[in-house]
Subunit: 289 residues, 2 copies
């Protein structure tokens, strides 16, 4: 905010409201700012310190028994920029305070359990910012679109997700759920760009195209998932993501806003500072070798 | 190297050699460069991209079955700057490719097992840079100094560590062990600085002073640990660390050198690029909503 990049706060503008309709979200839009790419990249750099200080406070309070922590859920179609968010927004928080989990297609063992079984161990501990690259929402997105689970089971999961999110929220987890929203045309450009650059071929997955062809079904599944699981304690934010610089700056600002709302304070030491100074001074003649 | 900051490579200069004597290492020295703080901080920034590209290649090769990975072990007296190394050197690698583990005093369950039991699950997987903030070396450092284990058991551990390190090296783990070496006078300054800044009080631990008073015994334990576990496949580097800017730039350059020696290549895609371009083109008329 300090740099004047944001006219309005994306944490308010992009937060899902009653009556939300994904079809009305323009992936090319840049709500909250009238500025362009260069200014957006500057904003990302300049606000990194603000994010880092908040994250350090979050981490610090846990060292004196505080229970607060954050969980950021990232969901999107392929090539929408989840990786870029991790590498350009969350790389600016201290590695000590970041717990990143990438959820892949479930293993046979994971499939033999309830869908939340593999999620639970990755709920962030006190002081941490947990980031889920994909998440339990895959179980109502690809699983719905591909009919990997029967309709009744998919139906059950929306409620189970909200119960789970309420349960961890009660333990001090601030939940921020983000959908990066790109257009199929933008995805096409990005997939072709990957194919054009041999250094990016390892990121290209021939299976992604199959999901691409199911775009309308995925958008329906996102709409329903957002409607059914958007709550006061676990809100969704839908971020237009055709412009990478916008999506990154917006996610950074959403995270900063949500951390700021936690009213974090530097913990007060539980020791006598003067006495400790004296103890250090007593060892001032220590020499080695 | 590109910036001319390094006259000689610290990966060579700081690598432990036969006949190594910790008493001859000056914590104030800056081997390999004649430049100062400002140039050192520039070097750290400017070489971050070099580190990131190597790390990305390391990560990429694992996606096509490569087994290579790196383990960086950080050991030091309190306030020597381990945290700064993590936050200023390793924060520049992609979060996806970094696995940081901080080892604390062992729990009752951990103490009931062999000392390597809690280490094994944190050996980095293919493509990852694992960083240990403290490690299995605590089991021959504080445990030796404090007699937490009988002498015969400590004695056994040196060999067990080398067996363990050889075993994981055989699986593709490049091991880099770093001791940050500060003087007791420098530690005193840093502890007092923590006491002077209320925002840093949460980092201050009254117990640290007890270890400080055992400085000579710790230096003996480091000397012995380094002698007994420095091997071709798991070398030690002793980094003068009174100047933070030097220690950070030196560790960054050591990691870059060791990654470079792995001769990493971008993996070649296992798909037909032209056919994939056509498949993407076939879906070019996809529109939503």
């Amino acid at each position: 905010m300090a740099t004047g990049f944001w006219k309005d706060n994306p944490a308010e503008l992009l937060r899902v409201r009653k009556g939300f309709d994904l079809r009305t979200v323009d992936p090319d839009a840049t709500p909250g700012t009238k500025k362009g790419r260069e200014a957006g990249e500057d904003e990302l750099e300049e606000s990194a310190q603000e994010l880092r200080e908040l994250q350090e406070k979050l981490y610090a309070q846990s060292k004196v028994g505080g229970q607060l922590r954050m969980l950021v859920v990232l969901q999107a179609m392929d090539a929408a920029g989840k990786g870029g968010i991790v590498n350009h927004v969350f790389s600016h928080v201290e590695p000590y305070g970041l717990a990143l989990t990438s959820f892949k297609a479930p293993t046979a063992e994971e499939r033999a359990h309830d869908f939340l079984w593999r999620i639970e161990p990755h709920v962030p501990g006190p002081g941490m910012i947990g980031v889920f690259d994909r998440s339990h929402y895959e179980d109502v997105l690809i699983q719905r679109v591909r009919s990997f689970a029967p309709p009744g089971e998919i139906e059950r999961r929306y409620g189970a997700i909200s119960d789970f999110e309420k349960r961890i929220w009660d333990k001090g987890v601030k939940i921020v759920k983000i959908m990066l929203h790109i257009s199929p045309q933008e995805q096409e450009k990005r997939l072709l760009a990957r194919l054009d650059n041999p250094e990016k071929h390892w990121k290209y997955n021939t299976g992604d195209l199959n999901e691409r062809l199911l775009w309308p079904a995925y958008m329906d599944a996102f709409q329903i998932a957002i409607e059914r699981t958007h709550t006061e304690f676990a809100p969704w934010f839908v971020v237009p993501a055709n412009a990478k610089w916008y999506a990154r700056a917006a996610v950074q600002r959403i995270v900063i806003s949500e951390l700021s709302a936690m009213d974090l304070q530097w913990p007060v030491g539980d020791f006598d500072v003067e006495r400790e100074r004296q103890r250090v001074a007593q060892s001032a003649d220590l020499r080695w070798p």
